[in-house]
């Protein structure tokens, strides 16, 4: 027993002395360059998130002006202006697509921003019913009757064209519904934009840990969720790639009525790529997940793998033409889209398990996806 004890005592002595020796070496020699998550959060807030919401706020206001104008003076010219304003604002929305936390997160009965204003496909029957009966609430569970894509449904008509839209807007109740939707959209956007530009930005930057509830964890999880939604629901589902589907479902694309699905898909992917790089919309590269990964064990390998795959996605995305709508291409040229889906799928592990594992962030999402 005493010999055993002597053995352990000497072992501990050796360990502790070597520890002291090692720690007494100059700190710079043995410590890695510090990564400051605060800088990353600061860059995200100042150069990505806040500008994204400001842009969205402006374009939603412009859209509201255009739709009000259209309801007051219902012509094909004012419709065209409203349609263009819709496209611009929904493109801007794609740059906020991944930030469904904080003021854009769920609260009480209200779901996350994206679920309140960007549910697709919308339910045309329910919308028509709401218009004809005039009884509807903009806070209930019928989220597929409002938001950007309900406005899109009202402003565009795939089959019959603009003249039929103008004709339908002779109805006062249709005008009222559109105006109500726009007011709802404006106030929801304004609440989030204001929050980011007043107190929340500082809260976001100060909450610089990695645990559940920290800004990094929230940003990462929503980023991942957004990527998965792009892959599975904007592309996979209409392509008939999801288990249980027996055929393609082209009408389930995002922005079906305007035929702008591909533009939206591209903007969405661009926005996600920007988050990973820490890059602003105008292309100025700052501190993002890429820099964060540079400072952790195994990070370099993951960075090069991810960059290569993002490049592949970009090539596959460029191969998809914007000349005809996604819903048409799903039927005519599914191979290009299949290829894009495959490239996106290959990237999932880099964003999902590899990244969370290296950064020590927990994957916390899932319960909001299924319904």
């Amino acid at each position: 027993m005493s010999r055993l004890k002597a053995f352990f005592l000497s072992l501990i002595l050796i360990i502790s002395s070597s520890t002291i020796w090692l720690t007494s070496c100059s700190e710079s020699e043995i410590s890695k360059p510090d990564f400051d998550r605060t800088t990353m959060l600061q860059n995200m807030a100042d150069n990505l998130i806040k500008p994204a919401y400001s842009d969205l706020m402006n374009s939603v206001l412009a859209l509201q002006t255009a739709t009000t104008n259209f309801t007051e003076n219902t012509t094909s010219t004012t419709l065209k202006e409203a349609q263009l304003a819709w496209e611009a604002s929904y493109l801007d929305f794609q740059y906020t697509n991944a930030y469904n936390f904080g003021p854009a997160g769920p609260e009480g009965l209200q779901k996350a921003f994206i679920e309140e204003v960007a549910i697709f496909p919308v339910n045309a029957d329910k919308i028509e019913n709401a218009i004809s009966t005039g009884t509807y609430s903009l806070t209930d569970a019928n989220r597929d009757t409002r938001g950007f894509l309900a406005v899109e449904y009202l402003l565009f008509n795939v089959n019959e064209g603009s003249s039929s839209v103008v004709a339908k807007f002779e109805s006062a109740s249709r005008k009222k519904y559109l105006n109500d939707l726009m007011e709802n959209l404006r106030s929801r956007t304004e609440a989030i934009s204001t929050a980011w530009n007043t107190g929340f930005s500082a809260t976001f930057i100060a909450n610089n840990g990695t645990n559940v509830g920290s800004s990094t964890s929230a940003l990462y999880n929503e980023f991942l969720k957004s990527f998965e939604a792009l892959k599975n629901f904007k592309l996979g589902l209409p392509l008939g790639k999801i288990s249980g589907q027996t055929h393609t479902e082209p009408t389930k694309v995002e922005a079906y009525y305007s035929g702008k699905s591909i533009e939206m898909l591209k903007a969405h992917m661009q926005a996600l790529e920007n988050i990973w790089y820490g890059r602003s919309k105008s292309g100025i590269d700052g501190i993002g997940f890429e820099e964060y990964l540079q400072n952790v064990t195994g990070g370099e390998a993951l960075i090069s793998a991810t960059k290569m795959q993002l490049e592949n996605i970009s090539l596959a995305m460029d191969a998809v033409s914007t000349d005809s709508p996604l819903s048409v291409q799903i039927q005519n040229a599914p191979n290009t889209l299949d290829a894009l889906f495959t490239e996106l799928q290959k990237n999932t592990r880099y964003f999902k398990s590899d990244m969370s594992s290296l950064l020590g962030i927990a994957i916390t999402f899932s319960d909001a996806d299924g319904d």
Binding site: F8, R37, S243, T246, G298
Partner: protein
């Protein structure tokens, strides 16, 4: 040796147990496991609290202990993704507790039926708990003696820097040396702490180390009640005198007077002795079963569970399942989140037996949806200790026709080190 030591252990443990139901809410809410309706799940958790309280005060001790063991084990068995070594430890302690005469001193049973009352107990009743703790610690320590843990300081090298915002200590975790120190200390601690606790001279220092070690790990890692369980459980190594003093204070505070002692404790019967011998032989041998599997233990996890391997690796996976209808040859990708919560998905994605279980679930789900004999395959990429992720299992094999068993899983691909 005073038998009440055991009781105290139960008391301390149960004190912690009361906070558990809040963690347990995770247990219900999944459609894919056969859980009882929510009301009964709540009822069972309430019953666990009640029986645990009965065990502590020693009321209907034997019946309460059996019921507690059964109920607690039931909640553990519901969902394997919730497997935690310390729940397993608690299950074993509860099991052993059933046999002990812990109700024969300082208990309601002893009050109600003074024939039971005694103030001595065979040493064995302490020994079994000490032995169990010794196995837990030492085996956890042995498991840490490996290349990744000691030489590469993995996975602590990954985990510690993520804690750099912890007050005061945070900065330390960004130093390159820190994970090495922690790794070596952790290994030495686990391997030897039981010896330091058994020796009366080193015991105060050892126990101080126990407190520091477990509180620190509790702060750093999300491991629930485990630190508190261990901090209290290790008190069983303290001296008889220490426990008597504590109990006397407790009795005075509760105004408990001992009944007149008329009976000496029963000797432990032979069958029970034999039974414990088998129990511990099993406990000693079972964790080594991984040797029988040719695969890399950390990669395949064949023989990983129930072996006191705690916090040993950083592992994460992305599992994508594909369901194919053989009649049309059309294959579809499964959106996991439609079936699993994030915790389950995360656990499943790295553990082959769970991947297989989920595949079988998908098989029956899609059979009900009208696909005849669906074939299920899974593309599973796993990263172990920050290595680039690679395929865990054969992505082309039809999991629907594979049965899980104790044999080595030939469809697990070997890990290659780059």
């Amino acid at each position: 040796m005073v038998l009440s030591t055991i009781r105290f252990m139960a008391l301390g443990w149960v004190g912690d147990h009361f906070i558990k139901p809040t963690f347990h809410f995770h247990y219900f809410g999944f459609e894919w496991v056969s859980v009882l309706p929510p009301f009964w799940m709540y009822a069972i958790h309430v019953m666990i609290i009640i029986t645990a309280f009965f065990v502590v005060i020693g009321l209907y001790f034997r019946a309460s202990a059996i019921l507690l063991f059964l109920l607690f084990t039931y909640t553990e068995l519901i969902d394997v993704t919730y497997y935690l070594n310390h729940y397993y430890f608690i299950t074993l302690v509860l099991f052993l507790l059933i046999f002990t005469p812990a109700h024969r001193h300082f208990s309601v049973d002893a009050k109600r039926n003074p024939v039971l009352a005694t103030d001595h107990t065979p040493r064995l009743w302490l020994f079994i708990f000490q032995l169990l703790l010794a196995i837990v610690y030492t085996y956890a320590g042995f498991a840490k003696i490996n290349y990744a843990w000691l030489i590469e300081a993995l996975p602590l090298k990954i985990w510690l820097p993520a804690n750099d915002t912890l007050p005061l200590m945070g900065k330390i975790f960004t130093w390159e040396i820190t994970p090495y120190v922690f790794s070596w200390f952790g290994m030495l601690y686990d391997c030897t702490i039981v010896w330091w606790l058994m020796n009366s001279r080193t015991r105060p220092w050892a126990y101080a180390t126990v407190i520091v070690f477990h509180i620190l790990t509790g702060l750093l890692f999300n491991i629930g009640v485990f630190p508190w369980v261990m901090i209290v459980a290790t008190l069983i190594f303290f001296s008889e005198q220490w426990h008597i003093t504590l109990l006397t204070k407790l009795k005075r505070w509760l105004r408990y007077t001992d009944p007149v002692i008329v009976n000496a404790p029963n000797r432990v019967s032979r069958p029970v002795l034999h039974f414990f011998a088998i129990f511990f032989v099993f406990q000693l041998l079972f964790p080594w079963r991984y040797i029988l599997y040719p695969s890399n233990l950390y990669w395949s996890e064949e023989g990983y569970r129930f072996s006191w391997r705690v916090m040993l690796m950083e592992k994460a996976g992305t599992a994508t399942f594909y369901v194919k209808d053989p009649s049309t040859n059309k294959e579809g990708m499964v959106v996991n989140s439609e079936f699993l919560n994030s915790h389950q998905e995360k656990q499943m994605a790295t553990q082959p037996d769970m991947i297989l279980q989920f595949a079988h679930y998908l098989q029956s789900y899609y059979e009900n949806q009208g696909i005849k004999n669906p074939s299920i395959r899974a593309e599973v990429y796993v990263t172990l200790n920050a290595q680039p992720s690679q395929l865990l299992i054969d992505p082309n094999i039809n999991l629907a026709v594979i049965k899980d068993n104790w044999k080595t899983k030939t469809w697990i691909l070997p890990i290659s080190n780059e």
